[in-house]
Symmetry: C2
C-alpha cells in the first residue's frame, strides 16, 4: 500500500477495508470509536480562556493519524509543481530566512459536533476545540517568491508526514489553499510555538498556519508544498471538511472560522457533572471571542435570557481572539449564562445550531448553568 | 461555602447538591458527563511510547476541578501540623534549596476504566493515561527535616489550590501519604518538568511527585503540607481512590502502580476505528513497561496467542518505564498482538481485568489488532 500517491483516488469497494465511514450521523450512544478519538485528541479546558496565549497541552489538538516522530536534522521541505525553481530546504536553511510571529486563534472545524442530533460520527468535540498561540516561522509568500510561481497557478497543496486510512482511502494528510490565500502575508510556515520548538503534536519540526481558517488548513509535519493548476482532489479536500446536507450532497468547502465566543465558567465545578457553584455577590464574567472573517465588534452576555453588551478589550491583532468581560452581581438561585459574539461582517452566533452532515462549523451560543449559594 | 475546611466531612443529604455520585457503575452508553471529562482530560497517544520522556500535551492529565491560574511570585507553600517549626516558603526560597531530578512514570489509577463492564462512571479512560517525565525540585524529606517532624507523626497531608465539589462534598483536592513514604528520598516537590517550569495543567508553580504511586498521590498546585497524627479522612482518601467490590464495601486504598506494559501500535491507523494496517515483512514491535512495586523483569509479546519474550533495555532508573522490543516478520492476514509484563515481585498482568466498583488499578494485557497487507 502506497500512502503517498493515492491521496486523490478513492479505492474501489473491493480494495477498501470494510470500515465505518466517518461522519455518518448516529442518534445512538457514543461509540467505542468516538471514545478512542476523545481519549487521543484533546480540547482546551475552558478556564484556559483566561490566558491570552494557550500553552501546549491546553491548546486543542486533533491528529487524524499517528503523531509522526521526525528528526529535524535530516528533515527537508520540498517545494515543487508549477514553480520556476523546485526547492528542497533543510530546517537550518529555513531558520536563516526572515521570520515573522503571528498570534493566531485556531479552532477545529468539528468543534461542537457532539451537540448535534443526530451526531456525525467523528471526533466528538464538545465546545472547547480551540486555542491561541504565537507561531513563528517563514512567511509562505516569501518561499513561494523564492520558488517563483508560474502563470495559471490555482492552488497550493500542502502534504504532511502523517499517514493512514480514512473513509477507506490510504493517504498522507493533505490540504490545499487557493493561491490568493497562500500569498497572504500572515500565512506562515511555523517552527516555533510560543517561542519554543513546536511540540511533537503541533507539527514538529514544521507546520503551516493559516490565520482565520479552521484548523484543517494548517497542515502539520509539513513535508511538501506543490503549486498546482487544477483544484486539488485529495480526500481531506473533496470528501472531508465540507458543509453537506446529506451523504449525497457534494456540499461546499469549509474555509474560514465562523464568529464565536466562549466564557470562563465562573465559580467552581462539580467533578463529574461540571455544574458550577459560586457564592452570591459580584463576579467578573469573562471570555474570548474570535472570527475568521474579521474583527469581533460586539459580545453580548445573556443572563437568564436578558442580553447585556460586554466590555471588549483592544484586539490582539490578526486573527487572535479578543477578551471580553462583564461584571455581574450573582444572586442566589439557579442561573443560565450565555455569550454571543458579532463580527465586522454582521455575522452573529446562532441560538440554535444548524445541523450539517459532517458536523462542521458549529458556532452555537454557549450556555453555562450556575448555582449561586 | 467554604471549600477549605470541609474536606473531611460529607455534607448531609439536604445540604448536598443533588448530583450523580461518581463511580456508580453503568452498563449503558457513555454519558454526556463522561464525554465532557474525556474532552477536558487527555491521555498519551500510544505512539508517544517511542519517547523515553513524554512532553507536555502528550503526558496524560487528569484534573478533578479547574486548572488554577496561579501567580508564582505571590505564591507560598505552608508546612505545618505536627512539626517543630511551621514554615512558609516562597518559590524563590524553594529554588535556593538543594534540588534533585527524578525520572518518573505516572499513571492514572483509573486508566482502563472504560473497558470494564459495568463501567464505573468517572473519567472514561481507555488504555493510555500514562506518561514519563523528569521532575526537578526539592526532596520532600529535606523540607520535612527543616520543619522537624514531631513524635507520633503518622501521615503527611498535601492540599492543592484546585477546588470544587465531588460526591456532594465541597473540597480542595487533598491526599495524604504515610510518613514512611513521605520520607523516601525520591519523593519530590517539583517546580520543573523536563527542564522547564511546570505547565499550568501539571501543577504550576509546585506539585508533589510520588514515584511508584498512581497519579492521585502526586498532588498538583500544592499549597500546603500538614503533618498529622491520625489517618487523613478527606474525600479523595476515604471515599475516592479505593478498591471496592460494591458501594457498601469500605475497600482498601489505592497506592502503588500495578505492573503494566503497552505497545506502540505498529503500522498506520484508520482515522475512525484506529484499526492498524501494515505491509508484510519485518517490523520492530516496541513499547514500555513499568511497575510501582519495583523493576520490570520480563515482557512477553503475544502474537496470535503465542507468547515470546521481548528484549528489555536497561532500566532508566527509579520508577521510570523500561523499553522493550521484539522483531516480528508480519505475514499477510489479520493478527492480534499483545504484551504482558512481570515485575520483580512476580506480579504479572492479568489476561482478563478484575472488576472493581471505582474502576481502579486496571492493568489488563493490551491487545492490538493489525491487518497485514
Amino acid at each position: 500500500m502506497n500512502y503517498r500517491n493515492q491521496q486523490s483516488t478513492r479505492k474501489s469497494a473491493e480494495q477498501a477495508p470494510v470500515l465505518p465511514a466517518t461522519a455518518v450521523p448516529d442518534s445512538g450512544p457514543l461509540t467505542r470509536e468516538e471514545l478512542q478519538l476523545a481519549a487521543r485528541n484533546h480540547s482546551m479546558p475552558l478556564e484556559a480562556l483566561r490566558r491570552e496565549v494557550t500553552p501546549p497541552g491546553l491548546h486543542y489538538v486533533l491528529t487524524h493519524f499517528d503523531i509522526p516522530d521526525l528528526d529535524a536534522s535530516s528533515w527537508h521541505l520540498r517545494i515543487g509543481g508549477a514553480v520556476e525553481r523546485a526547492l528542497e530546504l533543510s530546517m537550518a536553511a529555513l531558520r536563516r530566512d526572515p521570520a515573522i510571529t503571528v498570534p493566531v486563534t485556531l479552532e477545529c472545524a468539528g468543534n461542537g459536533r457532539s451537540l448535534l442530533e443526530p451526531r456525525p460520527l467523528s471526533q466528538p468535540w464538545v465546545l472547547e476545540a480551540v486555542g491561541t498561540a504565537h507561531w513563528t516561522g517563514v512567511p509562505l509568500a516569501y518561499l513561494l517568491g523564492k520558488a517563483g510561481v508560474l502563470p495559471h497557478a490555482r492552488e497550493v497543496v500542502f502534504t504532511g508526514a502523517d499517514a493512514g486510512v480514512q473513509g477507506g482511502v490510504p493517504q498522507h494528510y493533505a490540504r490545499s489553499l487557493p493561491i490568493r490565500e497562500a500569498l497572504r502575508p500572515d500565512v506562515v510556515l511555523a517552527y516555533r510555538m510560543n517561542g519554543l520548538d513546536l511540540p511533537p503534536q503541533h507539527g514538529y519540526p514544521l507546520r503551516l498556519v493559516v490565520p482565520g481558517w479552521y484548523g484543517m488548513a494548517s497542515v502539520k509535519w509539513l513535508q511538501s508544498i506543490e503549486v498546482v493548476r487544477a483544484p486539488f482532489a485529495g480526500f481531506q479536500q473533496q470528501s472531508a471538511y465540507r458543509y453537506q446536507e446529506s451523504a449525497d450532497d457534494a456540499g461546499t468547502p469549509v474555509t474560514r472560522i465562523r464568529v464565536r465566543s466562549l466564557m470562563v465558567p465562573p465559580g467552581v465545578p462539580d467533578f463529574f457533572t461540571r455544574q458550577r457553584f459560586l457564592p452570591a455577590g459580584p463576579v467578573m464574567l469573562e471570555g474570548r471571542a474570535w472570527s475568521g472573517e474579521g474583527a469581533v465588534t460586539a459580545v453580548d452576555v445573556g443572563i437568564d435570557g436578558t442580553w447585556v453588551p460586554a466590555h471588549l478589550e483592544k484586539p490582539a491583532g490578526g486573527f487572535a481572539w479578543r477578551r471580553w468581560s462583564l461584571p455581574w452581581v450573582a444572586d442566589p438561585g439557579e442561573h443560565v449564562l450565555a455569550c454571543r459574539a458579532t463580527d465586522i461582517t454582521g455575522a452573529t452566533q446562532p441560538l440554535e445550531q444548524h445541523w450539517n452532515y459532517q458536523g462542521m462549523g458549529n458556532n452555537v451560543v454557549q450556555q453555562v448553568r450556575v448555582t449561586v449559594e
